[in-house]
């Protein structure tokens, strides 16, 4: 080895840039051939407008890379079991480089983590993250990138760059929007006394609990009958606008649009559905996820960025009820502050899981957004959720699969969570 190291001559030669350029060109040509034309999402404000990559050349180079495949490969490599002797020094080095605090680990024996993926998804010791008494707490360890009030259904990504709230969360309803697609979700989690702990913190209308619930149950059962009779293969609709179908789930579940929570509850009663947010531009049909606020209320947002060394599980930021989730297929760009400053619509382009529900002040949502290195989003109470899969043709960018959690609690019609309760996390790849 010594003689080889010393005697082998070093030859410098240029990296074949032309080959890389050819590859990127071929990727672009393939996209055009497929008819995508660079479309990676749908603008929630104007359904006819496609979201395209916008930004400096670095963004376009990144957009041409097979980020999802790279992410899955990254996940596979990091799931490989490491030799026991290498684990302790390896994870110590990782912790030193990325600033992990090993004193907080629930399992301090580093040899017990079989792979880097296991270590990355480490659990913290009980009590090292005390939960504050304020109504809103941080759901994750990280850096608060941006926060503020939302004006005109536009959320500010960074100063000067905005994206549509509807594109982030998806629109509700609309003719032809929901198509029956059974999605299994975890109904095994028992609804126990613990779930009632903060029930007084959450506001309900009497109609939600009593009067209209019967109607919703009826609507729900009729929907299920229709769904069961529908051919499963036809349930996956294309992203092109489709006409309103009499007797479709949305129409059956028609309840007066009184408030945001009513809308959410109403839509949660359409227990499981798959739909796209590509709907006719008719403004009377699709509604925003947040269509009406209570008097004296406003909409706010906060963005928390998790760096590679941070604890990557996320917890409930408040006492709230999660009524449904929307899994948006998308790209897996890096979400680092560097990219966030350059790539507009970043959080709308990336794969994400929008959890929608309500808390004591009205509407509440939490959206874990995936990235290249952490494409897998896990929700503890939703075993059916699968993210960063090889994208099926029937689930193109800009569309979402929706599932409701109404069965998790018949009283609350959603998954109740306390502030600080672990909800899930991000896994490598």
């Amino acid at each position: 080895l010594h003689s080889a190291w010393k005697s082998t001559p070093t030859r410098w030669y240029p990296i074949p840039i032309g080959l890389g350029a050819l590859y990127l060109g071929a990727q672009q040509a393939k996209k055009k051939w497929d008819g995508d034309k660079g479309v990676v999402g749908i603008d929630g404000d104007n359904d006819e407008m496609a979201v395209k990559l916008r930004g400096p050349w670095q963004v376009h180079v990144m957009g041409a890379l097979p980020l999802r495949s790279l992410s899955r490969l990254w996940g596979y490599l990091n799931s490989l079991e490491l030799p026991v002797w290498s684990r302790e020094p390896g994870f110590k080095l990782y912790s030193y480089v990325f600033g992990c605090n090993l004193d907080e680990l629930d399992q301090p024996d580093l040899k017990s983590y079989a792979s880097l993926g296991d270590f990355f998804y480490r659990r913290l010791r009980d009590g090292v993250r005390p939960i504050d008494d304020e109504p809103l707490v941080s759901p994750a360890d990280g850096r608060l990138l941006h926060f503020g009030a939302i004006n005109g259904a536009k959320v500010e990504q960074v100063k000067g760059l905005t994206y549509s709230l509807d594109a982030l969360l998806g629109k509700t309803g609309g003719p032809g929007t929901p198509a029956a697609e059974d999605v299994e979700f975890d109904t095994n989690r028992a609804f126990d006394d613990h779930d009632f702990a903060n029930i007084n913190d959450i506001d309900y209308s009497l109609g939600d609990l009593l009067g209209s619930s019967q109607r919703k149950v009826d609507a729900n059962s009729s929907i299920k009958d229709e769904q069961s009779s529908e051919d499963e293969s036809s349930s996956m609709r294309s992203s092109s606008p489709s006409p309103s179908t009499p007797g479709s789930p949305n129409e059956d579940a028609s309840v007066p649009q009184e408030s945001t929570t009513d809308n959410l509850v109403r839509d949660a009663s359409v227990a499981l559905s798959m739909g796209t947010n590509v709907v006719p531009a008719d403004a009377s049909s699709p509604r925003s996820s947040v269509s009406k606020l209570r008097e004296g209320n406003g909409l706010f947002f906060a963005v928390i960025y998790l760096a590679p060394g941070d604890y990557h599980r996320f917890h409930s930021p408040a006492a709230w009820v999660v009524e449904r989730r929307r899994h948006f297929a998308g790209e897996l760009f890096s979400v680092s502050p560097y990219i966030a400053r350059r790539l507009s619509n970043l959080f709308v382009l990336n794969e994400r899981v929008a959890l929608l529900g309500r808390w004591r002040y009205g509407f509440f949502s939490m959206v874990p957004v995936g990235a290249t290195n952490v494409g897998s989003i896990k929700i503890n109470f939703d075993q059916a959720l699968r993210t960063n899969e090889r994208r099926p043709r029937s689930h193109p960018a800009g569309t979402y699969i929706e599932a409701g959690y109404s069965k998790a609690s018949s009283l609350l019609r959603g998954q109740p969570l306390n502030a600080g309760e672990e909800m899930g996390g991000f896994r490598l790849g």
């Binding site: 304020e134 941080s138 850096r143 990138l145 209320n297 909409l299 706010f300 994400r352 949502s365 959206v367």
Partner: protein, 32 residues
């Protein structure tokens, strides 16, 4: 990875954090 929160709250809701600040799970973000 990133977590985005969008929520309804009374208009006098106030964030008690600074932009760019490091936060930990359970740390208060704001108050009414």
């Amino acid at each position: 990875s990133t977590v985005v929160l969008v929520f309804e709250a009374p208009k006098d809701f106030t964030f008690k954090v600074q932009e760019g600040q490091k936060v930990k799970v359970g740390e208060a973000l704001g108050y009414v």
